[in-house]
Symmetry: C2
Subunit: 222 residues, 2 copies
Amino acid sequence: MDNRVLDLKKTILENNDADAALLRQEMKDKKTFYMNLMSSPGAGKTSVIIQTAQRLKERLKIGVIEADIDSDVDAVKLRELGIRAVQTHTGGMCHLDAAMSRQALDAIGADELDLVILENVGNLVCPAEFDTGACLNAVILSVPEGDDKPLKYPLVFQISNAALINKIDTQPIFDFDMDAAEKMILERNPLCTVFPVSAETGSGMDAWCDWLFGQVRQWLDI
Amino acid sequence: MDNRVLDLKKTILENNDADAALLRQEMKDKKTFYMNLMSSPGAGKTSVIIQTAQRLKERLKIGVIEADIDSDVDAVKLRELGIRAVQTHTGGMCHLDAAMSRQALDAIGADELDLVILENVGNLVCPAEFDTGACLNAVILSVPEGDDKPLKYPLVFQISNAALINKIDTQPIFDFDMDAAEKMILERNPLCTVFPVSAETGSGMDAWCDWLFGQVRQWLDI
């Protein structure tokens, strides 16, 4: 039975990969930078997005796609802060794929935007397997989750261009070895750039935003 | 494309449900209580299991099935503490199903054990959809993840007989409303029993273990 499940999955993944590549090219043509942000539930995706949007809003036209199985609390929160946001419900699905991304990008009016950030479903496993069509993947690991997560969930770190280690303000009370975490991430993906941050205090957020802005400029060719 | 994915999934789920019901009956006949423990990555599943095994080891013969995509750090840690444990690798799968459970229960020698605890893959989404054949589901929500998780990941709370709110020792530094979290859980599942605990300090662990022991006694008819 396991093999059958995996075979079906392979076909789905191959179809999705082709669609994602097409979507990436469409976004390139439209000069829209589409970024996929992944993490466990509660690692701080929404807070990081708010801090990022507030730092880059003078330089870029930004939109946010919220993907959740249920509820719209995140999109409501963003809109209250003046950030353009659409809420998508995945209908129980544990990830967003390229087809769902395309619908959401249409809904938010990606043509008019420089940067669209997807807040993927809180899950370190499945979102890593489905290419959303984004031109940049980022993952958040939060200090309370522990430094061994790159060991247990390798794929999401392998496919991410950036890893934000969030909630560093809580490091004194958790047994989290920052050097060990960074080392494990870089062993899985030497090209990943690691940013220790706190979306609560703002620590490290400037470095992350400057790096992201550089990536967007390169993509938009400005 | 979305519909096709969901149709395939429906067949897989239906086959799995039948297999899970069969496995549950087999465990009943063998007088083994099989418990499925779910949570986000880093919410404290391993620590809760260690505390639970240490409190119940004089009363029950206990084994632990570790399910991870990769690594065997958890099983090694448990064995070093004298707890019988097998490590399973899901081969990239984001959850355990009934067929994988059966293999793992055979491997650990479930016939000789009173209580087998499955540490499912760290994921609040997919494990909730796949019945493992367990006779009890428990979910851990940790304080640093935030009190809104029952709103965003309703299914795992709907199917859980018990919800442990872990890391309550860190409540002073996180903005976590315990009453709100409990209320949201009970709205989704009025039959869920909620246990505020800290696997770090041991707080609340006796209440959880006494309740679990009661459930095991009832199942084993002792």
